[in-house]
């Protein structure tokens, strides 16, 4: 379970987001909000990539502030618009992250098959389309034994087959993992059942269901 308490984030003197208390249990949660509302800021804070005021913890034990390394080992983040060094290959990136996140060898192979990346896994990133970049980001996001996976706009730029595979992958893992998914699509347009829907409005996270 992911817990957020007394969360507050501002850029300079401009407040972006405040969350008094919020818990996310295992399962898939949808986060929506207009452009610039603070979805990515929230995701980056949860991923331990951005500084913020307040507390974010896993199972109320592993705190991002007090045990940042142990916490981050269990939280994976897929960016909305991923970029990688153009001279590396998806395989280079995957093997680097997989070793770090202690992912079994078979996991990489399974994910490559599921996301249909076999044809370009050994090509340099500079040759990738935006969909291929997104798949690379998703591959890195599922590596290891994550307990939270943050998917920022995962359904844009990927093809219909990958969308289906990704939905199945989320459904398969949602019993042991908390998924926070941000998207501009409405829930009925997506092949997923969300445990909760949230909106970011007026610098606050509001529950939608």
């Amino acid at each position: 379970m992911l817990s957020i308490s007394d969360y507050s984030k501002s850029y300079g003197h401009e407040p972006v987001l405040n969350i008094r208390k919020q818990h996310f249990r295992n399962g898939c949660h949808l986060i929506q909000g207009s452009n610039g509302s603070g979805k990515t800021t929230l995701f980056k804070s949860i991923a331990g990539l951005l500084k913020f005021d307040g507390e974010i913890a896993l199972d109320e034990k592993l705190s991002v502030k007090h045990n940042p390394v142990k916490y981050r080992l269990h939280v994976n983040y897929c960016e909305a618009e991923p970029v990688f060094p153009p001279f590396l290959t998806a395989h280079d990136l995957a093997s680097f992250v997989a070793t770090a996140k202690k992912a079994p060898r078979k996991q990489i192979e399974d994910l490559i098959d599921t996301l249909n990346m076999g044809s370009f896994i050994h090509q340099p990133v500079k040759t990738y389309s935006s969909g291929m970049l997104k798949k690379t980001s998703l591959l890195l996001g599922f590596l290891g034994q994550p307990r939270v996976i943050l998917l920022d706009e995962p359904f844009t730029t990927i093809d219909a087959d990958t969308l289906k595979s990704l939905s199945e992958l989320i459904t398969y893992n949602e019993k042991e993992c908390t998924f926070l998914v941000s998207t501009h699509q409405t829930p009925d347009q997506l092949p997923l059942i969300f445990r909760g829907t949230y909106y970011i409005e007026n610098n606050a996270l509001c529950s939608g269901s």
Binding site: Y11, G12, S45, G48, L49, L50, K51, F52, V64, P68, V69, R72, L73, E79, V83, F84, P85, F87, L88, D92, L93, S95, F96, V97, T99, A100, K101, K102, L140
Partner: protein, 363 residues
């Protein structure tokens, strides 16, 4: 080892590519201006004097600081967020990976340190040798310790303060350096090969020159060949202006300002040849000839650059045109037309193009 190689490619290699201008300058200075004996003399002095060693270490510390800042920026950049996973490797692996990366970044210091260390050993100056070894060890280990600390923490997003902004503005690449900076980043090997060729030709002409046998025309023809050898690099500079910053060329800048921005690129491009010419120019020849040859070389470079504005470099007869241009200048020199007069003609052509035909068609 593959992971070390990935990090070396992503950080160390990019550091050398981004600072290739500085390293080239260092090479020109180190190899072009200082002879082997002078290097030995400097290293011997550093080996024997604690004060000189201290000054050297201050210089090295500035370099180390630059590598450290570069690495931190690389670790925090959007495209390298995956590097932050390094913190999940075992402590030993982290030290292995990051220490190798830092050693690659500090390679010039380690290499020069080793060179100086040989002389310290030779002169039995153990205190200096110990200081040097301690400095290199601390200079390698301390950044790695700080990298690990940095990678474990979230990325700071605090706004830069005014002082930082002012410093950034001060050290930002000025517009007149953009073309050359781009050339060094994108076509480094072409640049090195061309410079090696033109400098070799220039040195050959200086070595063969004999005032009893040849008059000033020998030097003029040499300078013509050297300047023409740079044609591909000048074309690259033009392409940068045309493709990357056409808006800058079309901006309503004053003629002088535009000319300074575009010509400074050519001047900087020809600087290595000018240095070599000054260094190897036969002492029997007059200083006036040296000056007029420098002006001649620059004017050829400038007129080649200007010509791309009016003749398409992709046209089928482009090669023929530039061959005729070369032959014309060759004949002018051969028939004794003073290089300063030819330079004036070329400069007039260049100036006219930059005032009247400079606009780039954005369609």
């Amino acid at each position: 080892m593959r992971h070390v190689s990935i990090l070396l490619q992503t950080v160390a290699k990019q550091f050398y590519i981004q600072n290739s201008g500085f390293f080239l300058l260092l090479l020109f200075f180190g190899i072009g201006f200082l002879s082997g004996k002078e290097h030995v003399a400097i290293a011997s002095s550093v080996a024997q004097s604690p004060m000189l060693l201290l000054y050297t270490m201050i210089g090295w510390s500035i370099y180390l600081w630059a590598t450290f800042r570069f690495s931190l920026e690389a670790f925090s950049s959007k495209e390298n967020l995956w590097i932050r996973n390094v913190i999940f490797y075992s402590s030993r692996e982290q030290w292995n990976i990051l220490l190798t990366m830092q050693a690659a970044l500090s390679a010039p210091i380690i290499a020069y340190g080793a060179f100086t260390g040989i002389f310290m050993f030779k002169y039995h100056n153990w205190i200096n040798l110990g200081t040097l070894l301690s400095y290199i060890c601390i200079g390698s280990v301390l950044p790695v310790y700080l990298y690990r600390k940095h990678l474990a923490q979230p990325i700071s997003n605090t706004r830069p303060n005014r002082l930082k902004t002012a410093i950034n503005k001060w050290i930002a690449t000025p517009a007149w350096l953009w073309p050359l900076s781009n050339l060094l980043h994108t076509r480094l090997w072409l640049y090195l090969a061309t410079k090696a060729l033109s400098i070799a030709v220039l040195i050959a002409f200086q070595v063969i020159d004999d005032i009893q046998v040849y008059d000033w025309r020998w030097q003029a023809i040499g300078m013509l060949l050297v300047s023409m050898a740079n044609i591909t690099l000048i074309l690259e500079l033009f392409k940068f202006h045309k493709q990357s910053v056409p808006w800058m060329i079309n901006m309503p800048l004053s003629g002088i300002k535009r000319v300074i921005i575009q010509w400074s690129g050519i001047l900087l491009l020809m600087l290595p040849e000018i240095w070599v010419l000054i260094r190897y120019f036969p002492s029997e020849r007059s200083a006036e000839l040296l000056l007029s040859l420098i002006i001649y070389g620059l004017c050829i470079g400038l007129s080649l650059f200007a010509s791309f504005f009016i003749f398409s470099s992709e046209a089928e007869d482009a090669l023929k045109k530039y061959f005729y241009f070369f032959i014309s200048l060759f004949l002018l020199s051969l028939f004794g037309v003073p290089v300063i007069l030819t330079s004036l003609l070329l400069f007039a052509f260049t100036f006219t193009v930059h005032i009247l035909y400079y606009r780039v068609n954005l369609d």
